[in-house]
């Protein structure tokens, strides 16, 4: 299990155990953590699972695919640490990961 912390827009935090192999998006949905809509269920088709990866984790989560990058290009409120959480696979190496969710997904 890896501990993932989700910080909501209002600053409230939830830390949950996520099974390696699941995505950071699934970790939120399965634990009823709000702030991630995931309309397409992880197909990298909707950009409603947008998160901001907090340091020092940005390098460790790896680079987005070209597909993900271009979806993000057109999402709202995009920052250099923006990622689509359905595209980040949880592993033991990500134990402790912290992500922030935007005010709204759209």
């Amino acid at each position: 299990m890896a501990k993932i912390t989700y910080i909501a827009h209002d600053g409230s935090e939830r830390t949950v155990d996520v099974k390696p192999g699941l995505s950071v998006m699934e970790g939120a949905v399965k634990n009823n953590v709000p702030g991630i809509d995931a309309d397409c269920g992880g197909a990298c088709a909707c950009a409603t699972c947008h998160v901001y990866v907090q340091e020092p984790w940005l390098d460790k989560v790896g680079k987005p695919s070209a597909m993900e990058e271009s979806m993000l290009d057109f999402a709202e409120g995009v920052e250099p640490n923006s990622r689509l959480s359905c595209q980040i696979k949880v592993s033991d190496a990500l134990d402790g990961l912290v992500v922030k969710t935007p005010e709204s997904q759209h």
Partner: protein, 423 residues
Amino acid sequence: MIAGQTSETGRTGRVLAAEARVVIVGAGHAGGTAAALLRQYGFAGPITLVGEEPLPPYQRPPLSKAWLKGEADADALALRPDSYYAEQAIALRLGARVEAMDLAGRTVTLQGGERLAYDRLILATGARARRIPLPGLELPGVHELRTAADAEALKQALGRGRRLAVIGGGYIGLEAAASARALDAEAVVIEREPRLLARVACAALSNFFQDYHAARGVAFVLGADVQAIVGEGRAEGVRLADGRILSCDAVLVGVGAVPNQELAQAAGLACEGGIRVDLRARTSDPHVHAIGDCTRRPLPLYGQAHRLESVPNALEQAKQAAADLCGRPEPAPEVPWFWSDQYDLKLQIAGLPFDVAQTIVRGEPTTARFAVFHLDPEHRVQAVEAVNAAPEFMAGRLLIGNRKPVAPEKLRDMSVSMKEVAA
């Protein structure tokens, strides 16, 4: 008592009383989402989610894609973890079919006779696979693909060296064919129209998908007149009008879906190829909302009403209904969209190709990265079909929503970025 508490003073005064009883019929993507949103929006009264299937709400899209290929398990299908419903005090009544509704008495009757009283009812009964009158349809080995149980049965029939005949060249049929190939099974797709995806995609896209599938070993028979499914005790072939028999081990019939509106119709709700609703998901009865695949809904961007079969539509209407019940403002209308995964292709479609004066292909289909834009006479984007082309899809969706005209020559020119086209 309850009726009096949910004061009915015209269109603005329909906010739910705290103890109003909400019953949702259909525990699918729309119904499950509506229940969750009601809680998220602060409604604390009793919610009962009644579903005919034995499973809590789950996602159907993977049934023909990742799940069929064995890349996702049952857990990954679930919309929420099982514990969610108890935690949120959402009463789940699974394996329970609603047989009748009484609008005047505000009750629904379950199979077996039990009655549930409601103050607000949300119909989210979805759609079912269309059945065509075809001899042999009842043979073992003939499948349809709508539910997890259907997918499980189909998965058993696939595997190395098996041969699947798909009747119907729509998205579900093509996705199932791609999944069959991924499992080293053979697949033949039989379509009545002269091209694939005839009802749902433009010709450029149909041709592209046909070539892509054919290059990966899928056989096609287009313009085919299917006469019967034949076999001794089980499906062994599909007979065409020209006498040919396409042999197979299993048949998937994927010829579209029909809305589950009979319940609503019998109770007297206005239906017309789907339960008629407005942009707050209200039906013709003030105590009943309807959402998802079972509805015929207005599309304000296009000035028409339509029945949509997609997850984004189910989610949008779930928001409309939950917002209306909780006294929130009507959500802004969204641009309809849809996606499909086949092999390494991601197809994303936004909008609907009504009133199209001009069609522009951006990119080269042979590179498997291109988009088809449909413009109205004022050069406004009505629809975009994007293959492995996320910028085109995302920018196209924005442009459909904001109705800004585009310059066709820029749109056609791959050296002009979509950011610039949309600016």
